[in-house]
């Protein structure tokens, strides 16, 4: 019973973190969002290929050696925020109306334990709805694998792997965080 409860409490805590993060992004509170990122964060979103059955190894572009949609750390992420906050980043000016829907939150691992976790790996599904100017609309859906590390009060996002369910990107840009 206790173990189930520990798992439950941790899962809810992590879910709350992910929801709070989504809240900051959707409310455009980017500086607060940056504060949730570990200094050594890796933010990676590979591209996907159509491959023959059995050749799944070649489906994703490789982190740190291939071209990816995103493959960067906190410095670049901070610059992206800074760019939006210039108020003249035309691709986000006027700014998009965005909702991050996070579902299927699964805590895959917790160390040292669920009862006293310092590090957690969590997977979820996301749907991002982005609408801007008059009728421009994008829907992006996929999976996210996050690695969280306890940092003082809160948790810190130490690594994010984003799997978008697309081949040709169906949006003209990726000016938002996923």
């Amino acid at each position: 019973m206790d173990e189930r409860l520990d798992r439950l409490l941790l899962t809810q805590e992590i879910a709350d973190f992910l929801y709070a993060e989504a809240e900051l992004l959707d409310e455009r509170r980017y500086q607060e969002w940056l504060a949730l990122l570990a200094d050594d964060i890796r933010y990676w979103m590979p591209m996907r290929r159509n491959v023959k059955y059995g050749e799944d190894g070649r489906e994703f572009t490789r982190e740190k050696s291939d071209i990816n949609w995103f493959d960067e750390g906190k410095e670049t992420l901070s610059r992206r925020v800074k760019q939006i906050e210039t108020g003249i980043h035309w691709a986000e000016e006027p700014r998009s109306r965005i909702s991050h829907m996070v579902s299927n939150v699964q805590v895959l691992a917790a160390t040292p334990s669920f009862a006293a976790a310092d590090e957690v790996s969590v997977k979820c599904r996301f749907l991002i709805y982005r609408n801007r100017v008059e009728t421009e609309t994008d829907i992006l859906v996929g999976k996210r694998e996050d690695f969280l590390r306890r940092g003082g009060e809160s948790w810190l996002l130490a690594r994010r792997r984003i799997i978008l369910d697309q081949n040709v990107l169906l949006s003209k840009n990726l000016t938002f965080f996923i």
Binding site: K52, S65, W69, E72, R79, R80, W90, N167, L169, N173
Partner: protein
């Protein structure tokens, strides 16, 4: 009626004397349809790079105009480009992005084609066809001409088209900046894994003219300049050499190719870049020296955005990429971008550049994002019946181009506008649309190969 505008293209729409181009050519559906026939089925198009298919049986599925094509290397090692459509009922024979295969077998009725395009397998050939089907006639549709230029693969559907080299004309030297090593060695380029593909809601000519050398839109990149993206950790996207070089617009008349070019001073070494990263800095310093040695005076050329007519973009400096703007209807473009590094560069250099490329280019690129926003809404705001009555302005630096431009003992091939002081011109766009107009009007390559007539005139 103008809302679907004039029926088809007529020359008044591109008026280079006035420096004006009608919005119709960007938004009109009939003109778009004509472009498919007159431009994309006659011009040389970029398909890919041989390093993507190193071994026999390797293939990469690419696109030419609206259509899917297979770039592959046959068992004998020869490179081919085929229309990705079965001859029997049109099924897309290869639906993978890349891979290795012995044959392409159609999923519908099982016709199979060799990597050389020949129809090698026909189920029940003897029984159902009584061995009568002329297999030789029903192989995959192959391009009329293919050229492997320093590793980059180009093709055209038109057998009357001139050779790729002749098609390039004097632009060869500028394409070399893209394909040779930074140290000047031939064809040292390597493609990083992963070709970016994304859709932009605009006509394909918006990116085409932008990459022809739009030196006027830096203002739209102000936000990234403020945020800072530079490989040197500096906030400008460009480099020290700008301060000492001549910045030129170079256009190849009759060909429709154009580019920005930086011309370094004679004798002076190119300033050090990437100081923040010693290994990278050293590598480029070394390469610059080598290049001067190998290329002599031409080593003073430093590349920049350019365009091979009609829809292939070059960017031969960092981020070093090539892009193709595939038409997907009058109002949509599918952008493909290949990323280049020197094959023999140290890994630290490749890694360093890769990071920069990713944050600079494509849909997630802090710089390119703002371009696409502009292309999208420039196109959208040009569709209406009133908007179409008002042409775009291309008057910038009219009649300022010179032939035989020379600086410090080096002559630059092509028509040149020195924009070092004037900052910008629209000569490259005028060059692009002049050629575009010729393609839209000419009924044959005999007409299109204007330079041959010119040569003859000279001869006479």
């Amino acid at each position: 009626m103008a809302s679907n505008g004039t029926k088809g293209y007529h020359p008044g729409l591109v008026d280079l004397d006035a420096g004006e181009v009608s919005r119709e050519i960007f938004v009109n559906a009939d003109i778009y349809a004509e472009e498919q026939e007159r431009i994309f089925s006659r011009a040389w198009l970029h398909v890919g790079h041989e390093s993507q298919i190193p071994n026999p049986g390797d293939y990469f599925v690419s696109s030419m105009g609206e259509e899917s094509v297979i770039l592959c290397r046959d068992r004998a090692g020869a490179i081919h480009v085929f229309l990705n459509s079965c001859r029997h009922r049109g099924m897309k024979v290869c639906r993978y992005d890349e891979g290795t295969t012995a044959v392409f077998t159609c999923p519908y009725h099982g016709w199979s084609y060799g990597t050389d395009g020949r129809l090698v397998g026909v189920p029940y050939f003897r029984e159902a066809y009584h061995s009568k089907l002329d297999k030789a006639k029903w192989g995959l549709v192959e391009v009329a001409q293919l050229c492997n230029y320093k590793g980059s693969i180009w093709a055209t559907w038109d057998k009357e088209a001139p050779s790729f080299q002749e098609y390039l004309g004097d632009f060869t030297r500028y394409l070399d900046l893209q394909l040779d090593g930074w140290d000047g060695r031939e064809g040292q380029a390597e493609i990083l894994g992963g070709v970016q593909k994304w859709l932009v809601p605009c006509n394909w000519k918006f990116p085409a003219e932008n990459f022809s050398g739009d030196t006027y839109h830096n203002i739209s990149h102000r936000s990234v300049d403020l945020a800072g993206i530079g490989p040197s950790g500096r906030s400008r996207r460009d480099y020290g050499e700008r301060d000492i070089s001549r910045k030129l617009h170079v256009c190849i008349p009759d060909r429709g190719h154009q580019t920005i070019l930086y011309l370094m001073p004679q004798g002076e070494p190119t300033p050090v870049a990437y100081q923040s990263a010693p290994i990278v800095s050293e590598y480029f310093a070394h390469c610059e020296a080598e290049k001067r040695r190998r290329r002599g005076e031409y080593g003073r050329f430093v590349g920049a955005p350019g365009e091979v007519f009609p829809n292939t973009a070059l960017l031969s400096r960092q981020p070093r990429t090539m892009a193709v703007w595939h038409p997907r209807g009058p109002h949509q473009t599918e952008c493909w971008r290949w990323f280049f590094v020197d094959r023999d560069a140290p890994n630290e250099v490749k890694e360093f550049l890769r990071d920069y490329y990713i944050r600079y280019s494509g849909p997630a690129g802090m710089t390119e994002q703002d371009d696409m926003e502009n292309w999208n809404y420039a196109h959208k705001a040009s569709q209406g019946v009133i908007a179409r009555r008002h042409p775009y302005s291309y008057e910038q630096g009219m009649d300022t181009a010179v032939r035989d431009f020379e600086w410090q003992g080096l002559q630059v091939p092509g028509d040149v506008v020195d924009i070092t002081e004037v900052q910008s011109s629209e000569q490259p766009m005028r060059n692009l649309y002049r050629r575009w107009n010729e393609f839209m009007m000419a009924d044959s390559w005999a007409e299109l190969a204007t330079w041959r007539r010119n040569d003859r005139d000279v001869a006479e």
